[in-house]
């Protein structure tokens, strides 16, 4: 069962980190666009 738990934890953590990075990058790009337009 330890292999199964490891598999799930690794996959879900990596996906969560990537999803989080997408959200942060989009917010940063929105701020940057807002600054350059104003």
């Amino acid at each position: 069962m330890s292999y199964v738990v490891t598999g799930y934890v690794v996959a879900l953590v990596v996906l969560a980190l990537y999803a989080g990075s997408l959200v942060l990058r989009v917010r940063r790009a929105q701020r940057r666009k807002g600054r350059s337009e104003s």
Binding site: Y3, V4, Y8, V10, L22, K33
Partner: protein, 239 residues
């Protein structure tokens, strides 16, 4: 797009939570594999998204970009978004497969045709991402990357048929086999189906987010360039 993102994100999260609950606690252990079968509710869905959905979408977008009638930077951005997300899913496919392989085959890695062709696919699409970072005119870069994506996508059918063309340690297809007769039933089959839907939904959300990022970056760069030109012109007038 904003509305789709608002729906897809929470839906993907809910479906993945349900998949994890079903996969780890509700479905029974397999007669042969025991609890290791629970990785089946993760690994094939990741591979499905990476190989067929992500790189399929990247190849289709690249064809649409290269075809003069449909040429648009939208397709270039869509291909870029799809490849980046696809690479994440491919790497996870390799990692989860390796975690399943260690207790089943006794090794973390073997130069099996399926594993090797999948690793090659990851390398090819990482190369695509590197190519996107090479400074060039946007249209030149788009054309160059579309050709590279199509070249890399040739490996997708090789990965798919590798278990048929060569004698491999990796088992054949469980659902999409030649007879189209699934070798999995009951709650296990439903959970497998759920995993495919959950990770495809997550992919859709990720691609839209990545696409939005690509658009915002381009618009931001254009606005910065316009501001720099205005500032330069103002300098010229005042001097």
């Amino acid at each position: 797009m904003q509305r789709a993102l608002k729906i897809l994100g929470p839906t993907a999260l809910a479906l993945i939570v349900l998949d994890v609950i079903m996969g780890l606690w509700v479905t029974p252990p397999d007669e042969v594999q025991g609890d290791l079968v629970r990785l089946v509710y993760l690994h094939p869905a990741l591979a499905w998204v990476a190989l067929y959905v992500a790189f399929g979408l990247a190849a289709l977008s690249s064809i649409l970009y290269l075809w003069k009638r449909t040429r648009s930077m939208t397709f270039d951005r869509l291909a870029a978004a799809s490849v980046e997300v696809g690479v994440v899913f491919t790497v996870l496919t390799l990692i989860t497969g390796s975690i399943w392989g260690r207790p089943t085959w006794g090794v973390w890695w073997t130069w099996d045709a399926r594993l090797t062709s999948t690793a090659l696919l990851a390398v090819l699409f990482i190369g695509y991402l590197a190519l996107r970072r090479v400074p060039a005119d946007p249209e030149v870069r788009a054309k160059r990357c579309a050709v590279a994506a199509l070249f890399a996508a040739v490996d997708v059918p090789i990965v798919h048929f590798s278990v048929v063309w060569w004698q491999t340690l990796h088992q054949g297809a469980t659902v999409l086999n030649a007879n189209l007769s699934p070798k999995i039933h009951g709650s296990m089959a439903w959970t497998l189906l759920l995993s495919f839907i959950a990770f495809t939904t997550l992919f859709a959300w990720m691609v839209l987010m990545r696409f939005k990022l690509e658009e915002l970056t381009t618009e931001g760069e254009d606005a910065e360039l316009a501001a720099a030109i205005d500032a330069r012109q103002a300098e010229g007038v005042s001097s």
